[in-house]
Structure formats: C-alpha cells, structure tokens
Symmetry: C2
Subunit: 341 residues, 2 copies
DNA sequence: GATGAGAGTGCAATCGTTTGCTTAAAAATA
DNA sequence: TATTTTTAAGCAAACGATTGCACTCTCATC
C-alpha cells in the first residue's frame, strides 16, 4: 500500500504538500507544475489515503454502524438496504453487524464500533438490557433505535404503531365472526411483541373474546419455532379459528404447520401475519399481511442520525412513529359453522 | 472516550504500562498492586482501546469486508449471515457493503475497505470489469470471490455448478415432454447467468428443443424486471409450456406474471426456479427449486480467506465448487395436449 | 563488595494523515 | 534599493496504541 510518504518521495516534495494538494481543491498556493507532478505520482502508485490514520487524526470516519438481530429476515434486510443507500448518498459507509438476538454480541458490537471511531449508530436492540445504551447516551454518542425501543429510556427512535395495527387486525377478524383467535409471536421482552400483544389483549377485552391462555404463544423468532408453536396450537382440544402471527419467519413457519396439518386457508383457519415479504400474494393462500414502510423507516432513521451527528449542541430526542398498512389478501374469511363445533 | 493516557494518569503510571497490563495476560513482570490499580482505573473510565489507532500501529484490524450486490435478496442475505457467524467465531468483525449491481460502487468499496486496513475481502462481483481486482491481486491482498467468478482471471472463489444444474433442470422438463422452454434471467455478463444459459443451450442442443430466440430473456435481477419479462414471454404467439427462471427475485416476479395472466401451475405451465427462499414450498404451487448450500458457501469462503490471510507466503488459489440441489415441488408436470395446440 | 540477574517501569519511536506555524524565495511596493 | 507582501513549500506536533530498549532498583551469588 502506497503512503503519502511514498508519493511525496516520488514527486520530490514533502508529504504535507501532497496531502494539501490531494485534499484542498481550490485556492491553494501551489505551482501548477508541482501539482501536476504530485497528481501523476499519486496515480502512478495507486495511492489511497489510509482511512484509519485519517479517522484517527480527524476524529471522524464517515462511517456509521448498523446493528440488527437477523439479516436473513427480509424485514431487517430491507431496512439495511435502505439505510445503506441513504448512507451512500450522503457519502457515508455503512458497517452492518448481526447480533443474532444475542445481547452479549450486541454489547460487543457497540463497544467495538464506537472504539473504531464510527460516527453514529443505528440499532434494532435485542432488549435484554440497555446499560450499554445508557453509557452511549452519557457519552453523547449519536444513535437511533429502529423498530424497537424502550418505554422507560428516552432515545431517538423510529418505530411503528404496533399496538394499533394488532388491534385493527383483530377487529378485522372479529368482524368476520372469529372469537377464538390465537396470537403467535417471538419473545415478549421485545418492544414490538409487547405492543402487538397489548393490541391483541385490548381487542380480546373490548370484544370479550375467548381468553384461553394457550392461545397466546411466544416461542421465538425463527421459522422452526413458528412451525412448532403453531403445531402445538393447532392440536389444542379446541383449536382457534383464526391466527394472528407476529413476524416474517414465524409466519412462514406457521404456514408450514397449517399446510402439513392439512388445513385449508381460509376455509378452515384464517391467518393474518405481520410480514413484509414480497411473496405474500403468491402463497398457497394470498396472505392478509400487516406491512411496514421499511424503506421509509430506514431513510428516516438515517436522516435523524445525520441530524444528531451534525448538531453542534445536544438536540432533543425524537421518536418517529410510522404507520403500518394492512395488505388485503385472501387468507381471512367469515367463520363457518363447523369451526365452532 | 477515555484513552490510554487517561487511564495511565488515573493509575499514576506510564501509558505503556497500561497497554502492557491490558494486553499481556501472563508472565508480565508487574506488581500485583500496580496491575490492580490499572485495572480499576480502566473499568472506572470505561476504557476501550481505540481500534483505529490499534489497527494503524499493528497493521491488522481483525475485520473483513463483504461486498454483495443486493442484501434484500435472501440469496445474498443468507450468505452474509453465515459469513458473519463464521467471522464472529474467529474473532473477526464483518463489514457488509452493498454494491447494488453498480460497478462504480463496488470499485469504491474495494478502495475504501482496503484503505481502512481491512484484513481480507469476500466479493460477489458485479462483473462489468475487474481491473480493480487485478490490482488487489497484485498487491497480494487476500480476497475470495463468491457465487460469481471470472473464467479468464485466476482467483480464490467459491461457486456452484450452475451449468450442470441448469442442464439437469432442463432434462427434468424434457422428460415430462416439454420442448418449448423459456429461460428467464438477469444480465448475461454475470458468471452464474452465463453458465446457466450454457446449461440451457446445451440441453436445447442435446434434445433438439425449440430454439425461438424470444424464449431467452435477460432483463435484469429485480422482481419488477422478472415480472415484465415474463409477461412478455407469456404473450408470445406461441408461449412456452415451461419456464426456467434464474434468480430469487425474478422467480417471484415471474410468479406474479403467471398468476395475473390467470395461468395455473403446473397445469398450464411448468416452472423451475433458481431460488433459495424458505417459502417455496408454500407458494400457490409448491415450487420445484434449484437451491444452493448457502451457509456452506459462506463458511467455506471465510475459511479460505482466513487461510490466505494467515499464510506466511503466497498460497495457490483455490476454486471451490459446491453442488446445488433440486428441491422437488409440484410446479412441474407432464405437458398436456392443449398446450401443444 | 563487586557483579549479575531479574523485576518493575519509563522513554521514545512508530503507524499514516493532517494542519498551524515557519521559512525561503520571488514579486510587488515604497 | 530597502521593505513588505505574496507565493510556495517544509517542519513538527498531534491523533491513540504498541513495543524495543533503557533505566533503576533489589537481591543473590561468587
């Protein structure tokens, strides 16, 4: 790797001169001849400034970090994609880290990224703890939470109206005559899950629905876990007539369980999923889905972060709430008589 | 951010002593009392070594870079996920960059990452050019290509047997009686596409199939492009009785076109897709899919990279070929009479 | 009672850039 | 011609961590 010194030597000038020529475009007192010589040398040696030295000296790396729990989940992959594009537009690099829902790993990433001189951080936190984020806040390090946040801990965040959308989905099912509706989700320590569960319970209360505890299941986020939990629910003595599933991978797992059990959607069971996959319209039964404006979420998180990174003084925190949208499918139908029996 | 100096000051020792105490665990000549004092100070100040300074001094960053064309494509997202996990196991950080199939962007990423002191690089190249990779090779910078490689340019690579798998898929269709088979894919500048096309053409020759040029389409990689290209093909005066589609997103786009056109799979048209999505079994018609051992590909690419990064002397290049697998679905069927009419 | 061996620390250079300050020559002004 | 200004380029410190070398002690050994 060619260094400034190498270029300087080749051009027969001092390294500082090379630096100046390469950095400052206009009104630099330099002879055309020398500039020419330096440029030629830089190209000749395929010189690229060492970013770590630069970051060290400048205290700025033009890089931000993104920590997400799972990149093979299209939900986070799409968010990552949009953040990456915004970064690129703004001249930033993006460092993507995957916590795999492991709190320990997330903490390590935060430490590692900050000590790399990352300028800011966007995090979809695991939410088993947040002491590391409190430290970040204390150091006045700019960061934005995405999709998940802490009620009791004030930070920047871009989230969606989980509770309302779960309630709406329930209402939709209730209007079709369903009174025994199961709720399938990941860990309830997570903000989105808690909120959706709250929306579910709210609907259960308002419409006085069946409250068998077995109808609520929080097994985990994966395809496999969704599959197993759904099988369990379907084999209840009195299985539900409808299912509200929270999460991309879980929904597909549930789908597998339903297909394997031989049930037809929506004739035998109705299904609404919190899912943002492009394939929902082409599933065995085109899925009624609650979708997020993922690109918008990513873009707004980055814009908010940028604002805080560029701020001279401490800005007040923002909590941006985006609206989900129910994508109508064909996976929900009025309850039929045999279900009740 | 606390520095070594801050810790040293608090512990009343020289920075170098702090560094030694924090780095070298065993047999360091240091009094227990001093060590104690230093440790306490480090914790008190929440000290984390500055990685850019460290990387600068050590010439090693314990970070590798991954450049992929599209992260919202599960194919690359899964590869990224597995590489990330391997990295983590080996104590490396992963920096993920998304080229969005833009050669310019890829070149920038390569320059930027290498000048960040990244220890190695895994790339799924855009393949419009490779001069930047030649430079990398010249500088003896360790890198591994994944999924796509260059026939005429020797490098490390982990790829799959694209040609054979396309041929096998075609053979499968031919045995069902299909003779008019369309091939839908992304840009033919890309290795995988070229190879799959070669497999397709080979089958066309061996079995003397219909060679109407309109049956071959290379519109692009996206869902939208797959949709449009497929519509075009379906509206041919003599539409094909079967479709071989190359790529995740394109396959779903084609699916949309088929569904919208009102055709039934496999009664009206057979479909085989190169796709690695977990949802293929639950589509309108459970899809016959050619799948890749994605986790394995990622793991092997990382292992190969690690080997080259740790090598004292120049190693010979490896080209690892993994086998694809045809996942049987229900989207292919024997040709029926009305198709031929 | 020198000499030598270790134990316990500090010093200073280094990695590659950047930038305020200085110097030196040339040009402009008095 | 003497002085100031402008132009052009070099010097050196700094960012934070690491490490070979050197230094000062304290013991034990010959």
């Amino acid at each position: 790797m060619a260094t400034l010194k190498d270029v300087a030597f080749l051009a027969q000038v001092h390294p500082s001169t090379v630096s100046r020529v390469l950095r400052c475009s206009e009104n630099l007192p330099i002879s055309a001849e020398t500039r020419q010589r330096i440029m030629a040398a830089a190209i000749e040696l395929d010189y690229h400034p060492d970013q770590r030295a630069r970051a060290l000296r400048l205290g700025k790396s033009n890089t931000i970090g993104l920590i997400i729990p799972d990149i093979s989940n299209p939900f986070f992959a799409d968010i990552a994609q949009s953040i990456e594009q915004e970064c690129h537009k703004a001249g930033y690099m993006l460092m993507v880290c995957v916590s795999n829902e492991d709190q320990e790993k997330e903490i390590n990433f935060v430490n590692n990224l900050t000590s790399r001189g990352i300028d800011g951080l966007i995090i979809a936190p695991v939410q088993d703890s947040y002491a590391h984020l409190v430290r970040l806040k204390k150091k006045n390090y700019p960061f934005v939470l995405i999709d998940r946040c802490f009620e009791e801990f004030e930070t920047n965040a871009v989230i969606s109206d989980n509770e309302a959308s779960a309630f709406d989905a329930m209402e939709h099912l209730v209007k079709l005559g369903h009174r025994r509706i199961a709720f399938l989700s990941g860990r309830p320590t997570i903000y989105t899950i808690r909120k959706r569960l709250a929306g579910y319970l709210h609907a259960v209360n308002v419409y006085d629905l069946d409250r068998t505890p077995e109808l609520i299941s929080n097994g985990g986020f994966t395809f496999e876990q969704g599959y197993k939990e759904c099988l369990k629910i379907l084999s209840l003595p009195e299985p539900p007539s409808a299912l509200l599933v929270s999460g991309n991978q879980i929904t597909f797992g549930a789908l597998r369980a339903i297909v394997e059990t031989g049930l037809k959607i929506p004739e035998d069971i109705s299904l609404i999923g919190f899912t943002d996959s492009i394939v929902t319209p082409f599933l065995v039964s085109p899925l009624t889905a609650i979708t997020h404006p993922l690109r918008d979420m990513g873009a707004r998180a980055f814009a908010l972060l940028l604002q805080h990174m560029n701020a001279k003084e401490r800005l007040p925190f923002s909590r941006i709430v985006v609206e989900t949208k129910m994508l109508p499918g064909a996976s929900t139908a009025p309850i039929n008589e045999k279900m009740i029996a």
